[in-house]
Symmetry: C2
Subunit: 427 residues, 2 copies
């Protein structure tokens, strides 16, 4: 693969005021276009530091992409430095000036001559039009190599990379790319997942496999290294099919698939409506479902019954809360059908637990969560002990609830409402 | 200030599989300890690349901190490279071996001799105990300068920096630090905020001011550069007090203060209970409130009445929904007191809007959100048009609702429940 180096410019990056998300985006975009980032250097908004970093990077790889230090607020610092380094004069480009003037006019202002330097670029540079902001990108091919300069504002940088830089890279690479495909699993511990996939894992070379555990489960990332694009895509698809076959229902999607969106699609195809009764998750499950556009065609609503009084108003008998507590099988077994009846929904989950950091006991430690799933076939309860902080416990409990709903929605969609269940391991 | 360079090691960083959050943490921690990060270099897990990056950085600043490439999975790549570069032999340290053996034993396993290299360190290195993971940190003072080696796992790196590295840096710096103080504002546009603070902004030198707009409002970051710690703290406190005085109630906190936590504190001190009726925010407000530990002492619960049927079940007359629609002043004016009565709460907000991406009309475009705040004094409604994506509209609406509740809780706490309001600009 062709190599390049990244130089990211910004004092704020080094002070840690800004997390450098640009670099991750650039690394992925370039790898997918068949160009490897060999090194990344971050320097402050200091002309000498920028100059040295670009000079050294050019000497090593002959191909440098910079971000930041472009645009009016920083006085086009990096543009001047790079022009000077490549011994190219800055020349005024009327088309940039016209674009700037039009932009100022749209904001009801008149541009003045002090801004003329914004329309200057190193001689011979290709101007990459920035439809997302002020400062255009620059593609400068000089004797020392190629320097591509991009603004640091993430939205502008991403627009320019996708629409201007990647298409130009495609013709430069040697036709070999790095591509990944991620399968999303939940409800299965990493160690058990590793056992399940061990039979197919050995046969995936030259692909590699990485386990990526998170609060939503364990993602499996398959990566094809240095293959032609078509061969990479075919190898990834073929391997993904084999992994899906052994992982089964614990694999709920691929790429950026969100479990809530997958659940809503399953409800739609089975003609089911959803409702919730949330205590410890406090609205997190409802928030995840309603974050999906169009959720209203399957999701009716939810009750965040946080205080005991709110559970009683839903209809939970006070006796249950007194005798067994709000975090109990009896409480969720009452809540789920009450929420189902109240909202007139087909499928409901009720959740009550101890998210911490306090409130735990020997019998019910922090992390104890009770779930009840109710549908036309009845009510099913589960108790899980989740590890982690308050946020982690709530996020894991939300994911568990969504996955439990998905299993039941698929089961109903497959014809067997209520009693028949998919052969699904809920941990 | 003393300078150092960071070298972050990991092929995944350059491929963009991992966002480099470590660097932001390190930049801040070092600046606060009086040490400036002069440059940051990221290289793949390749011995020659690591060697060159560390060598060059040492030559420039004589002080290098590395992350990554330590520990069993990468065969202690960077440890060997650095030892070789500094011409230090690797020596076996029994205390590391004992610690490793004990860790393996706790996992029910027996360590074997293949793992001996994990207990080897460059001769003369100070071992920084890693209570958060396997591989200890190393502080190596050699003729060429100081190399501090840290694992790349964020939790382990942070623990080592906070407890082992920063205390050692404090004695090395020249006593000058970079420190920031952030004031959090909401409910006021950046341009208006800039006008408000212009009177005090001019007098803050040598501090600097940055505006940081986000979905939660606009943060004002004051930064003291290269001052002794006490002088920095005093200058920041003094300036913050002047900014708070001109910004008024739109400033709800400082640092990491979360608006939901500030609201809960205000409710507690005023002896008020809270409830919600959420449509377009779909549980997001409840989720933010219940994310705060101990929220149950003021928050009773909420209704996520997403579908019209759910609004009717809360008690909204079907006639209102038919005549005015679910996104209307009439709908929220009905919802808020119904939720208040249902949960028996003192203070309630009802929210109904069009989060998009579809569902808008000329009269009610995407981003239209109606709010109703209900307390003992009655009901007050507001209509706001929020810009942005579905997520941004929901997040801005949630923040607006929390801020409206805070204003009313403070007003009630100040004695005037209901009619009397703080002089607060809700945009």
């Amino acid at each position: 693969m062709t190599s390049l180096e990244l130089v990211t410019i910004g004092t704020e990056l080094l002070l840690g005021f800004t997390v450098d998300t640009n670099s991750a985006f650039l690394g992925q975009a370039f790898a997918e276009a068949g160009v490897r980032v060999a090194r990344r250097t971050s320097v402050p908004d200091d002309p000498e530091a920028v100059r040295e970093a670009v000079r050294e990077a050019l000497a090593r790889t002959g191909f440098v992409v910079t971000t930041g230090g472009l645009g009016p607020t920083r006085d086009d610092l990096s543009k001047k430095v790079v022009a000077d380094l490549l011994r190219l004069p800055l020349v005024f480009r009327p088309e940039i000036w016209d674009e700037l003037s039009a932009r100022w006019a749209r904001m009801g202002r008149t541009i003045n001559d002090r801004n003329r330097s914004q329309a200057e670029v190193p001689q011979g540079a290709t101007v990459l039009p920035n439809r997302w902001g002020t400062a255009p990108g620059l593609w400068i091919a000089a004797a020392e190599g190629v320097v591509v300069m991009l603004p640091g504002v993430p939205l502008e940088m991403r627009g320019l990379v996708t629409h201007e830089v990647v298409p130009r890279l495609a013709s430069m690479g040697r036709g070999l790319v790095v591509r990944s495909l991620t399968l999303r699993t939940t409800g299965i511990p990493e160690s058990l997942l590793a056992e399940q996939v061990s039979a197919v894992e050995d046969g995936i070379a030259p692909l590699t496999l990485a386990y990526l555990p998170s609060l939503e489960g364990v993602d499996l990332r398959l990566t094809a290294w240095n293959l032609p694009p078509e061969a990479a895509a075919a190898a990834l698809q073929e391997a993904a099919a084999r992994f899906r076959a052994v992982v089964g229902n614990q694999c709920y999607g691929a790429g950026d698939d969100d479990l809530a969106a997958v659940l809503l699609a399953a409800c739609r195809s089975a003609g089911l409506t959803l409702a919730l009764a949330e205590s410890c998750t406090g609205g997190m499950i409802a928030e995840r479902i309603t974050a999906v556009p169009g959720s209203s065609d399957a999701f009716l609503g939810g009750e965040v019954c946080y205080a005991n009084s709110a559970k009683e108003r839903l209809g939970v008998p006070p006796r249950i809360l007194e005798e067994h507590g709000a975090v109990s099988e009896e409480a969720v077994r009452a809540m789920a059908p009450l929420a189902r009846a109240k909202f007139g929904a087909d499928l409901t989950v009720a959740v009550s637990g101890i998210a911490g950091p306090s409130g735990g006991s020997a019998e019910k430690p922090v992390g104890t969560v009770w779930f009840a799933f109710a549908d036309a076939g009845g009510v099913e309860t589960r108790r899980v002990n989740f590890p982690g902080t308050r946020h982690e416990i709530r996020a894991r409990a939300s994911q568990y609830a969504l996955f439990g709903l998905l299993s039941r929605a698929k089961s109903a969609g497959a014809g067997g409402m209520g009693v028949a269940r998919l052969n699904t391991t809920l941990p």
